[in-house]
Symmetry: C3
């Protein structure tokens, strides 16, 4: 048995001066509640509050961070129980899936997934031995047995994790039935939706019609014109807000913004309805809808988030067999200065707008995003996203952003996860990295300890509440 | 009262080995004279040698580094006394402006502006308490009272700062009347102009005609043809050189270079005079004029500087109300390898040319600029510019450039500032960062201490004098 | 005399915790054999096994890393004995060339060339004084005298360097006569070719016909059609494989991939034969040939390497006078996500393909390459290339790649050198940098020492053998 260690000084610089200060700063925020303004946990989990499934189905099968790494080393998704669209057979023996995962667990050394899993195993499940080929079944049994206990039901974990608010991500046509169920239950957990209407903006995709039908269904009327489309969106936003939402989210490949003339946008929408819209028209329509979303945010006060730069489902064969989100979303070079010019010129100086930008292109941190956020009142920088939501990634984010934008133009942390049991691991890692970053600044006499104490509190808790108007 | 501390080891790595060496290297250059080959101090200040205005007008109102940060957090420029073009009323109570600045001074924690101000307050003005809401008026009074003393007149500070040479930036049509006044005075300070003809190259801008008229005025003749334009530029360069100038400076969005045919450039210039030139013609004209500037530099020996990649006045509304340079210049992705091909192929191997390149796109340091500077004899890399003129920014510059280009293909430091009292702070910070960079190299046995001693002297003093031919 | 020091802790972080661990990890791999899967040593050197020429001709004249730096500081290539194409006279006094090199040796402080030369001087040639203007002739004599000894013959050094396998780079039309000579000799050194057919893919270059004639010569038949061209390539690959090759290599400016229709590619090849092909047709032909190379790799098992993003011979005047590879290859911004989409979608999931990608654009490490390599089974990331084959460059590579792709999707080290005596220096530096990287991870409790021990072995030896199927 190889012991599993979760070192109390993990992620801190070994230099004694830095480490001492990092410990002190981390201690200030270690126990603060978790505020989750952006994530992908399925609200049904907390609405139903049923026991989680066994370990492989809970931890391996749905996590594209995990199976992408195994896939990259030649393990087929079928061997990991990932279900193909056509229902063709896959591995169904959960223990075999877990064993394969354990056999390849060494691949995660030095990755954030490795760090999160170590924390989750140790803190959430009380595992005290390293996951290896040899220990696989013991670890499996240990977790499986716990998952049957009432203390491991979703709401119990939510409370134990000290989550103050958890945000989900929901389509424009979503009924929010699970959020309603949670609100009407006797449980006090705050689980709020986020309005993400991407699918109804992508007028050139095969499933646009289907998405529009879902929107029509929840609205209770047909959407035959662009004007009605706008009305529908405004109504849905109002409904989401009623249901507790404080934010919207928008994923685009290129964050281009442009206000089209009434004539142009109407005509594009008509061609979309006829099924004759082009890729280029979709691009313009998305650019226009970002402008509209900013306008509506100013009116209804919802925080607007943009997540650009991901080439979704790069591996077409895999997407065709298994559906989207199978670990093949690959970043592309992203441009903000020109692309956001229209939006920022129109709305960027309006104090009623809170626009949070994310990026998968780290080169834009210091070149474009920090200068923009260090100028426009409406703009805040979201935390390091996705591949950069990691020890080195977050450190680079702070180093590249802080000198130009300070910390007060950043939006605090979000975990962005669909893996519910990994939430504390991610927030803990973030707090440690920020404590270490500030400790370095104190050790080099760039800031003093009194400032750092205030700043670590802002980074771990204050900024996210302020940015997302959760106060 | 919270004491203001200017730690003697600031910006040095806390590791004892590195810190010991950094101290030793910094001590070698700490007292060297300041050489300023590029900056934006108004020469009238030193020509008139009048007392500086009170603290808010001296420090807050003209500094876009300061008011951009406050603006980003919702403070309107009017509240900071920044004058609108149309003369509409703004805050005129200097104490109220200073108080607002002090109330938000915490925003600068971890930024170079914060570091510079700490140094300026402590060293130049002898402040010994931190600027806070509470201390604001005491700090104000302390500085205000000093500014009335003869020791705080511009020339006295220039001498006390130990400035060996200070370079200003001047338009092609500038009369250099202030430089003349300084030269004819009994004061020995060396204040030299730099020839920056951007405005007469931008043939598609609304104010081009106006700029051309200024050029015609100082030349004493009309400029009806491209040939006369070239003659005028050559004459102005000769005049600037006579007035002590050693360099020219050129800001472009894209550093594209191309020699146009005589026919093409003549025809573009004609359409400019007629007011019918296009954006694309302006782009080509600028590309051609960079070639011409290189040619003239080879002939008259003036050092040529290129500052590309800044999208000027991104916030159009602000520019319309307050004019240019209001903290909304945002970098864009920049390309050098293809764009400079024509210029470097024609002139890059000529030892008579000294071409200094700057960038706002850090990705070009290691990918394009260091390889180019590590090859072409004419090329030197300018220091980290603007948003990167900072502790982390300068450190990245050295780490990304030195391995490919060495230090001898870099141009030393310049402060690039219009904030006269901040000059010593900026040079001190630069010397500390370079000392720390070299200390790290010594501590890792990449270079030895004897080499580092020579190198720190070059970085702080030798290279800038050699590059700008100030020896 | 200034002593030359090769510190036993060189390149390790001075922090005592990190340094202790780095030493321990380095000790594990210090003595492992050198595996060279990619490089440019002339196989004739090892086929002939003649004594190396005197020091200037061995070390200075052929090394563009060295003479590019001297050229950048105004030394003409003629002064360094680099031979012009037209045979016009250059410096022929080897001692004068060596003296010039020594006079400017300080330029290499902080560069990888400096680090490699220090190691080579100290370890290979037993020099114990620093190279300076004053010591130049003593160092020269010392090396010159050793080079006459049998212990310094190429094969003796190969054996002393503990090289397990050395790969050369060879054109499609190469006869591999030197590889044959080595194989038929009684010496057991493993020197294998690598198939690099770039020249016959560049249908728009002046020397394409000449390259095609060389290919026809070694094939023994004419190549009048595209079908015959493919046949010829397949035959040559089979021959290279017979001669021990395990890999192919492909240099392109832009790594665009696209499978053309049979009709299109046939017609492009015909226009190439007629000499009427365009630049754009060359671009498409290269894109298509990358697809074909991947297809053939799947069939014959040879590892495919792509080296994109270098603007070759940027200094046209120098290339015209001295030929290619004179230190003026400058990187350009590179894009992988879109460009490789066709190739990866077609072949990226095939476990029979091993595709190694290199880059000169560091921004692609974390944005595109690590995400791609962390997904596609066929893909591995090559080590930091060229300007980044350095202490800081390799460190950034690990920091930017490991969190997303882990270490097991990377390809181990290669020295990429034509400077045979520098081979041990380069591998030693790489092992030290990797040991230091892992030591930092252990010191921060991201990985544990047991993991790090396995990982350092993989990085120094295991991964390269697995990736290149050298086991």
């Amino acid at each position: 048995m190889i012991p599993l260690v979760l070192h109390e000084d993990r992620y801190f610089d070994p230099d004694p001066t830095r480490r001492r200060i990092a410990r002190e700063l981390y201690a200030e925020v270690k126990e603060l509640p978790i505020v989750g303004p952006h994530g992908h946990v399925d609200p049904a989990i907390l609405a139903d509050n049923s026991a989680f499934p066994e370990p492989a189905t809970l931890i391996v099968v749905p996590d594209h961070y995990i199976f992408r790494m195994l896939y990259s080393q030649g393990i087929r998704l079928e061997e990991l129980g990932v279900p193909p669209i056509d229902g063709s057979p896959v591995e169904t023996d959960a223990r075999k899936i877990w064993q394969r995962f354990a056999d390849h667990y060494y691949l995660f050394a030095g990755t954030p997934t490795g760090a999160w899993l170590t924390h989750e195993f140790y803190e959430v499940f009380g595992i005290r031995e390293k996951l290896t080929s040899e220990s696989a079944m013991r670890v499996y049994d240990h977790i499986a047995q716990l998952l049957e206990q009432p203390e491991y039901l979703p709401r119990a974990l939510f409370d134990r994790f000290n989550i103050e608010v958890l945000t989900t991500t929901d389509a424009a046509g979503d009924t929010l039935v699970h959020h309603k169920a949670i609100q009407e239950s006797d449980w006090g957990g705050r689980v709020i939706p986020c309005f993400r209407p991407d699918a109804v903006f992508r007028i050139n995709r095969p499933n646009w019609k289907q998405q529009m039908q879902a929107l029509e269904r929840v609205c209770g009327y047909e959407i035959p014109t662009y004007a009605t489309f706008i009305q529908a969106l405004e109504e849905r936003r109002a409904f989401f807000k009623e249901m507790g939402a404080v934010s919207t989210d928008h994923a685009v490949l290129i964050p281009y913004t442009e206000r089209l003339s009434e004539h142009s946008v109407t005509s594009i929408f008509e061609s979309a309805l006829k099924g004759t819209s082009s890729k280029e028209e979709e691009h313009l329509f998305e650019a226009h809808m970002l402008m509209e979303m900013a306008r509506m945010s100013i009116e209804d006060g919802m925080v607007m988030q943009i997540h650009p730069g991901s080439f979704r489902d790069h591996n077409a064969e895999l997407a065709n067999r298994f559906g989207p989100d199978k670990g093949a979303d690959i970043p592309v070079h992203t441009e903000f200065t020109h692309n956001l010019h229209a939006l920022l010129n129109t709305y960027g100086h309006d104090p009623r707008l809170s626009l949070v930008l994310f990026t998968l292109d780290e080169t834009t941190y210091s070149r474009e995003l920090a200068p923009l956020a260090g100028h426009y009142p409406a703009l805040k920088l979201g935390p390091a996203w996705w591949f950069f939501d990691s020890i080195e990634g977050m450190t680079r984010y702070r180093q590249l952003v802080t000198e130009t934008a300070g910390i007060y133009n950043t939006a605090g942390f979000n975990d962005d996860t669909r893996a519910f049991p990994s939430i504390p691991a991610r927030h803990d890692l973030s707090r440690r990295v920020d404590a270490n970053f500030l400790a370095d600044q104190v050790a080099r006499h760039i800031i003093d300890l009194a400032d750092a104490r205030i700043m670590i509190h802002e980074l771990a808790y204050g900024l996210v509440k302020k940015t997302y108007k959760l106060e």
